[in-house]
């Protein structure tokens, strides 16, 4: 059973249509990168799955259940955890409190304790400063915290929106390295919104390219060539048929 299926999803913010009949699916254990230019609807897709944004049309099926009437809490309890854009660390709580926050819905205390140990081992910097107020952490540390926190919910499907935003390259490397290790050790299914396609290739994942609220390209990251990626990203047809002639002015919708 595929953990996530999206059928003809449309999402609008008032009169602004953010997603137009997008369909996609996630296979168990796979890593899907969603990329595309600004305003393509990537965050909206994740928010719709998390039930933060309401679809105007279409269906989202999570682990076999139609999530039409789910609240965000119910999605979390169903095993879906989202790390939204901008980190959203709960600054007035300590690191440990942040991590424990997501464990409220888990029944098995021993598993929770073991998980916490494992997380602290994977993220040593969090372990060191476990009683510090989260607001005092650096950007990279905060990103690690929110990923760790999402993992503590015991989720099987993890969605992360722009994990590298505002972080230095070396830190991004660190974050991704830990993320991939945990993915492998726990068999997670990942849905990542990410500007850079290189990481998709390194992570061995599939890629979904959105533009203007539609899916314009899809495939295994390794197999997509740079040229077709560039075209899709910036809005050109794959076969070059719409190449602009010298002297021609065209507006791209």
């Amino acid at each position: 059973m595929s953990p996530l299926e999206v059928h003809d999803l449309s999402v609008s913010y008032g009169r602004l249509i953010a997603l137009r009949e997008v369909s996609m699916s996630l296979a168990e254990g796979e890593t899907l990168f969603v990329t595309g230019p600004n305003g393509a609807g990537k965050s909206t897709l994740l928010k719709a799955v998390a039930r933060i944004a309401s679809p105007s049309r279409g269906r989202i099926v999570f682990c076999g259940e139609d999530t039409k009437d789910y609240t965000p809490e119910q999605m979390a309890r169903a095993g879906f955890s989202m790390v939204p854009e901008g980190r959203h660390v709960l600054g007035s709580l300590s690191i440990e409190e942040n991590l424990r926050l997501g464990t409220g819905m888990r029944q098995d205390r021993d598993a929770v304790a073991r998980d916490l140990e494992e997380i602290y081992q994977a993220f040593p910097v969090l372990c060191e400063r476990r009683s510090t107020t989260a607001a005092l952490l650096s950007g990279g540390q905060q990103q690690m915290l929110v990923i760790a926190r999402a993992l503590m919910t015991g989720a099987r499907v993890l969605a992360i929106d722009e994990p590298s935003l505002g972080l230095a390259p070396k830190i991004i490397d660190q974050v991704f390295e830990i993320l991939m290790r945990l993915r492998d050790s726990r068999g997670l299914t990942l849905l990542i919104v990410e500007q850079s396609s290189t990481r998709a290739v390194i992570a061995g994942g599939r890629m979904l390219l959105l533009r203007g609220g539609r899916v314009v390209l899809e495939g295994m990251a390794r197999e997509l060539d740079a040229e077709s990626l560039r075209r899709a990203y910036f809005g050109f047809e794959a076969d070059g048929s719409d190449r602009v002639q010298p002297g021609e002015i065209r507006c791209n919708t």
Binding site: E73, A76, H88, L90, S92, L93
Partner: protein, 300 residues
């Protein structure tokens, strides 16, 4: 010494009020202008509806150990009902709308009380024996003031414990800081909000009991002055900081007493004006409040 106790006792009252307002503001960004009416309601639950000047006890007849929880339950219950009926539907509305709605609610409740009880203040004897003075460190202090301070400190420590060391408390703090994020982590939004309202209502009830005991009067407008000061304390203390509101409550109590003492006789009637001018000064100096949490300053 007398002044110190006065300040602490008034400060406790203000701090309890500030906490009641700050809790709801934290979770819902709602300034609950109905709080004062809830206080009044709790007071009037003690007496039979009538227009007489002398009140007959209703709930007031119950033995003390039943009376206190009963009134607390009235406060909490009323608060929760108001959330369910009014505020739940307005969660997405803009702050101005929510504010006016809470004003309207307070107005409505006050006028219901008016219908039932008339606007004449009634005399009400609740624990008046506590008004007797106690000799302490050379000053004669009404026992009630000590009780007020005691209740204040006890409530504050209990709540503090709740918020810091229990799961529920952590969830409440998380919801107060970033509601949506908390939901995404599985925190049950409705449960947290309901609980917050209930606690706020219970705090209102506590204030009601202390006020009635202190003044011996039941007046439908009783809750208003405290609510206004509580409102101010919440902002001065720093939005998003519960500790700040409590501190500001005590500060306002202390300053009020201080002004009363320090101002020359002629100016005493203007005491409140000075207090409010001081409030403006504080706000201009530190608009985010005295103890604003580090996360309230938003990044661009």
């Amino acid at each position: 010494m007398q002044y110190l106790v006065d300040a602490l006792s008034l400060g406790s009252l203000y701090a309890l009020g500030a906490l009641g307002i700050a809790l709801i503001f934290g979770v819902m960004r709602l300034v609950n202008f109905a709080h004062g009416s809830i206080i009044a309601c709790c007071v009037f639950s003690l007496i039979v509806p009538s227009v007489e000047a002398q009140a007959q006890l209703l709930a007031g007849r119950l033995p003390d150990w039943v009376l206190v929880p009963a009134v607390l339950a009235v406060g909490a219950g009323l608060s929760v009902v108001s959330e369910f009926v009014v505020f739940r539907r307005l969660r997405q509305a803009n702050p101005a709308t929510m504010m006016i709605a809470s004003f309207a609610l307070g107005f409505t409740i006050q006028n219901v009380l008016l219908l039932l009880y008339s606007s004449r203040p009634k005399s009400l004897d609740l624990w008046s024996q506590l008004g007797q003075s106690v000799e302490l460190w050379g000053a004669r202090i009404p026992f009630l003031q000590l009780i007020t301070i005691g209740v204040g400190l006890l409530t504050l420590s209990a709540l503090s414990f709740l918020l810091k060391h229990t799961r529920v408390g952590i969830e409440m703090r998380a919801a107060a800081e970033d509601f949506t994020m908390a939901r995404m982590l599985g925190v049950r939004a409705n449960a947290v909000i309901t609980l917050t309202f209930a606690i706020s209502g219970a705090l209102a009830a506590a204030i009601a009991l202390l006020l009635v005991s202190q003044t011996g009067v039941a007046d439908i407008r009783m809750g208003l002055p405290i609510m206004l000061v509580a409102f101010i304390a919440t902002v001065i203390g720093g939005l998003g900081s519960l500790a700040g509101s409590v501190a500001a409550g005590f500060l306002l109590g202390a300053v009020t007493v201080l002004l009363q003492v320090v101002l020359p006789l002629d100016a005493r009637t203007f005491r409140d004006a000075f207090l409010y001018l001081g409030v403006i000064a504080v706000l201009v100096w530190r608009p985010q409040g005295l103890l604003a949490s580090p996360t309230t300053v938003s990044r661009i």
